[in-house]
């Protein structure tokens, strides 16, 4: 009983992290049709930046949340630069975009290895979230519960931004019909940069708040990226609800798969993706591409 409950909480927690990672990936793909293979690297960069700020720069140790926000802002700037300086020059060229973003992810991986070395870095749980919450005979780590809360808050915040603001309506208009959006005066190119930076910030934020659970190590980028891809294929590109549901599903499949069928963990992970691709290629909540 305990085993199942704990596994369930872990799955939802992991799903929450995946949502933060994949929401940006999905928006970037939905709006700009850019398969951003640097997304795992942005997650990793956020984790490394945050970990560094936490252990202290110039003798100043930062609060966990301040470090997380600073790391996210830093990575948002990197994301904006990638979009402005590189991807901007390759509109509509999916092959070039894949090559450039994949190349960047290799460069980022090597740079991180140079700067932070090959050993995993442990990220300490924020002290006041270090305890457990007891429910009968089961104890849930507070931090994992906090991640679930954060993911839900971000999901609601992103939903409000997209569905309840003029900026969000403009972004959706840009997804619907980019040419017509420009003709009615929407500066789609600025929106692209904003969305890319926002997606990068979310990924980086996921990286650092995932730190206490996953730690930070070389290769975490390539561990996370395929999961984000699976989420987006399951949920449908450009759909926030799709990212959310897809993330929770993948969180469960991944955790239960590793616990129960460790030899088949990847098979169990990719099988649902395959089924969705065969029977509902636009994803569970995606719209049919025109």
């Amino acid at each position: 009983m305990n085993f199942w409950l704990v596994l369930t909480v872990n799955s939802v927690t992991f799903g929450g992290l995946l949502f933060l990672l994949s929401a940006g990936f999905s928006l970037i793909f939905g709006l700009m049709r850019i398969p951003n293979l640097t997304h795992g690297s942005l997650f990793m960069l956020g984790a490394y930046f945050g970990a560094t700020l936490l252990t202290g720069v110039f003798g100043v140790k930062l609060n966990f949340w301040v470090a997380a926000i600073l790391a996210a802002l830093g990575v948002a700037m990197i994301g904006a630069l990638i979009e402005r300086l590189l991807l901007r020059r390759l509109p509509g060229d999916a092959l070039a975009q894949v090559l450039v973003t994949l190349g960047l992810s290799f460069i980022a991986a090597d740079l991180c290895l140079m700067v932070w070395g090959g050993d995993p870095i442990n990220v300490e749980t924020p002290p006041w979230l270090g305890g457990f919450m007891r429910l009968g005979s089961v104890a849930f780590p507070n931090y994992r519960l906090a991640i679930i809360v954060i993911a839900v808050v971000f999901a609601i915040g992103l939903w409000m931004l997209l569905e309840r603001t003029r900026l969000g309506a403009m972004i959706r208009a840009g997804v619907d019909d980019p040419d017509m959006a420009r003709v009615v005066g929407i500066r789609v190119s600025q929106l692209f940069t904003i969305v890319f930076a926002l997606g990068a910030a979310l990924a980086a934020f996921a990286g650092i708040i995932g730190g206490p659970i996953l730690s930070v190590y070389p290769g975490i980028d390539q561990d996370m990226l395929p999961l984000a891809l699976v989420v987006v294929i399951l949920g449908g590109t450009g759909s926030l609800l799709g990212s959310f549901v897809g993330s929770i599903i993948v969180g469960f499949i991944y955790n239960f798969g590793q616990a129960l069928l460790p030899e088949l963990a990847y098979f169990v992970l990719f099988l649902p993706m395959l089924l969705v691709l065969i029977f509902r290629p636009q994803g569970l909540f995606g719209r049919q591409l025109p």
Binding site: A169, A173, D179, R182, V183, V184, G185
Partner: protein
């Protein structure tokens, strides 16, 4: 001479290798309505796409109230007061009616003499849109989508309004409604280009007529002259 609201001067445009506009020139006077006629494929929609910046011309210039806008990106041409009601309506399908209007909203030019268009005035003109303000626009009927496309263009508080076949695919009664709207907009002093395949709709509303034939300007005239002289347009427009 009256101020020109929009002028195309010797515009050449290509889709790939095909030369779709050849030295096209015409002028829309301020506060006038220019009917742009021609058969399917004559280049009418291409003229609109060139004007709003979706298809940069290879040669020639485009001016809006005397300011060149040639090869500016679409959002900057929109900021200079050009709005398009596109062929096929192209409303933002996943947005609600209200959102379609909000995203296009732009403050009018300081020198503008018209009362500015707001969501309220658009809803006053199209009460049916107000009833459906929270509906997703993909679920609207063709006529309602056409009204939304017009309302969206008006929210930009344009100085030049381009309407690309607003009657296309609509029931006759709705067409009459749309044309009545066009007349109201003209009477408000807006400068309008009305693209149509059906000349009958255009002749009793237009001031000026331009007829395109295979990418070239074939006829430039006024509606009055054509009506008076009974010019035979069949060679340019096909039998009607």
């Amino acid at each position: 001479m009256a101020t020109s609201a929009l002028a195309l001067n010797g515009v050449d445009a290509f889709y790939g290798d095909s030369h779709v506009l050849q030295k096209v020139s015409f002028t829309l006077g301020e506060g006038r309505l220019l009917g742009l006629l021609g058969r399917n494929g004559a280049g009418k929609s291409t003229c609109m796409n060139v004007t709003v910046g979706l298809l940069p011309p290879r040669q020639g210039t485009i001016e809006v109230f005397g300011t060149p806008v040639t090869r500016l990106p679409p959002e900057q041409i929109a900021a200079r007061g050009v709005a398009l009601v596109p062929q096929g309506r192209r409303v933002f399908r996943s947005l609600s009616v209200q959102e379609n209007l909000i995203v296009a909203a732009r403050a009018p030019d300081p020198g503008s003499r018209h009362a500015p268009w707001t969501m309220e005035t658009v809803f006053k003109m199209f009460p049916r849109l107000e009833e459906r303000r929270n509906q997703i626009s993909a679920h609207l009927s063709g006529g309602e989508q056409q009204m939304l496309a017009i309302g969206r263009a008006l929210m930009q508080n344009p100085r030049v309004l381009l309407m690309d076949e607003p009657s296309e695919g609509l029931a006759p009664q709705i067409v009459a409604e749309v044309m009545a709207t066009v007349r109201k907009l003209k009477d408000s002093g807006l400068s309008i280009v009305l693209v149509e395949q059906n000349p009958k709709l255009v002749f009793d509303i237009a001031d000026d007529i331009v007829i395109l034939n295979t990418g070239q300007v074939a006829v430039v005239s006024t509606a009055a002259e054509i009506n008076q002289a009974g010019v035979d347009l069949r060679q340019h427009l096909g039998v009607f």
